[in-house]
């Protein structure tokens, strides 16, 4: 009678494949591996990465160019618009018009008839009187002390009188200037 304990074990494919888990290099191999890899990692730190290849890399490069181009165009546009008065831009104290004291100019047909109303940036410190609705377009503005300047007052020397239309940023529509921050103190002049 055959002994059941002597039945040979069935060898499966999984058993054979697991044989491969025992294929291992020795310690000398790993010492060399670590040394070579260490050198390559340090070389990577000092060298630039290789050029990318493939379709994805192609499109990544194109997108980078597009973004760079758009950024350049935006930079040009911003610098251009900095020099071009904008009704919605915040006008910095250094860019505001030079002012005139007590200069009276004759009415000029070229000047817009709609008066410009300027609001003070700090109503608590600036005394601003609203313009009468029938006030002439031309007027004189006194020297001002911008209250938004954190470093202290910034005085702009008086220069020459000129029409309101020539004042940068000020000759635009009154509605838009209602939102502009122009720390300015003005007074009506007599005609």
């Amino acid at each position: 009678m055959p002994d059941p304990t002597n039945t040979p074990r069935k060898i499966t494919l999984e058993d054979l494949l697991r044989l491969k888990r025992h294929e291992r290099p020795g310690s000398e191999f790993w010492a060399r591996f670590d040394r070579e890899l260490n050198e390559k990692v340090w070389r990577t730190l000092v060298q630039p990465p290789p050029r990318e290849h493939g379709l994805a890399a192609f499109w990544r490069q194109r997108v980078r160019w597009l973004v760079a181009g758009a950024a350049s165009i935006a930079a040009v546009f911003v610098s251009w618009s900095d020099h071009t008065p904008s009704p919605l831009a915040t006008i910095q104290p250094t860019m505001t018009a030079t002012v005139v004291a007590n200069v009276v100019a004759p009415p000029d047909a070229s000047v817009p008839s709609e008066p410009v109303r300027i609001a003070s940036a700090n109503p608590a410190t600036e005394k601003v009187a609203p313009l009468p609705s029938d006030a002439p377009a031309q007027y004189a503005v006194s020297t001002f002390e911008p209250s938004v300047n954190p470093a202290g007052s910034h005085k702009v020397p008086a220069t020459v009188a000129f029409a309101a239309a020539e004042l940068p940023g000020i000759h635009f529509a009154t509605d838009t200037l209602a939102t502009a921050v122009i720390p300015v103190r003005w007074r009506e002049t007599a005609y």
């Binding site: 060898i11 499966t12 888990r21 290099p25 191999f29 890899l37």
Partner: protein, 210 residues
């Protein structure tokens, strides 16, 4: 399933072990991303043997496997800043290694040389060797060596995708889901490739199976 290697522990980890390992790896990755290169050394030490084994089984050449494993680590190091943690670090690393290996194999298809690692001493003493010796009435070391060559030849006859799936599942012990992440395919594809690959290997190795 018979276990002819008494000391071979199952490689498949439990989900909680996986999660713990993944969080340890992620912490190391964050350290590398913050500039701590020594953390990358720790990752290398942890995964170098597994990575080498996968690539070796794909290429059947230990020199190529050594170079490709190093290349995989370098690529991982270069792009570790882009690793977001959507997948576990080791599936991400394995994907890099498998892709590098497949590219290499396709490029060098016409001039491939096999060189095999030595089998551990425990194989000759294993029940598998005993069983084979009984079957073929031959000495164990010779049989084991012959089996190693036949096994590698059989794997090389499979297509790259089928070979990869068998290696990752049967030898490395990855789950179907992990293999799908590494190979960037569905789990269904992994299962069907595995089924087909094992059928092919059964026919190639039928002399050694009973």
């Amino acid at each position: 399933m018979s276990r002819l290697f008494a000391n071979t522990k199952p490689l498949v980890a439990t989900p909680s072990e996986h999660a713990a390992e993944a969080s340890v790896d992620l912490a190391l990755v964050r350290r590398v991303q913050a500039g701590d290169i020594r953390a990358f050394d720790l990752l290398i030490q942890k995964y170098r043997e597994r990575l080498f084994a996968i690539i070796y089984n794909l290429t059947a050449n230990r020199e190529d496997a050594s170079d490709l494993a190093q290349e995989a680590f370098i690529r991982a190091f270069r792009s570790i800043g882009r690793f977001k943690g959507d997948s576990s670090f080791f599936t991400w690393l394995y994907r890099i290694a498998v892709n590098a290996s497949l590219t290499h194999i396709k490029r060098t298809r016409m001039r491939r040389f096999f060189s095999f690692e030595n089998l551990g001493e425990e194989v000759s003493q294993s029940e598998l060797a005993e069983a084979l010796a009984d079957k073929f009435q031959s000495d164990k070391p010779t049989l084991v060596k012959e089996l190693q060559e036949k096994l590698n030849e059989a794997l090389q006859r499979l297509s790259l995708n089928h070979r990869t799936v068998v290696i990752l599942f049967e030898i490395e012990g990855l789950s179907h889901q992990e293999i799908a992440q590494v190979m960037e395919c569905s789990e269904g594809t992994v299962r069907s490739r595995l089924h087909y690959a094992k059928q092919q290997l059964q026919s190639y190795l039928q002399d050694y199976l009973r």
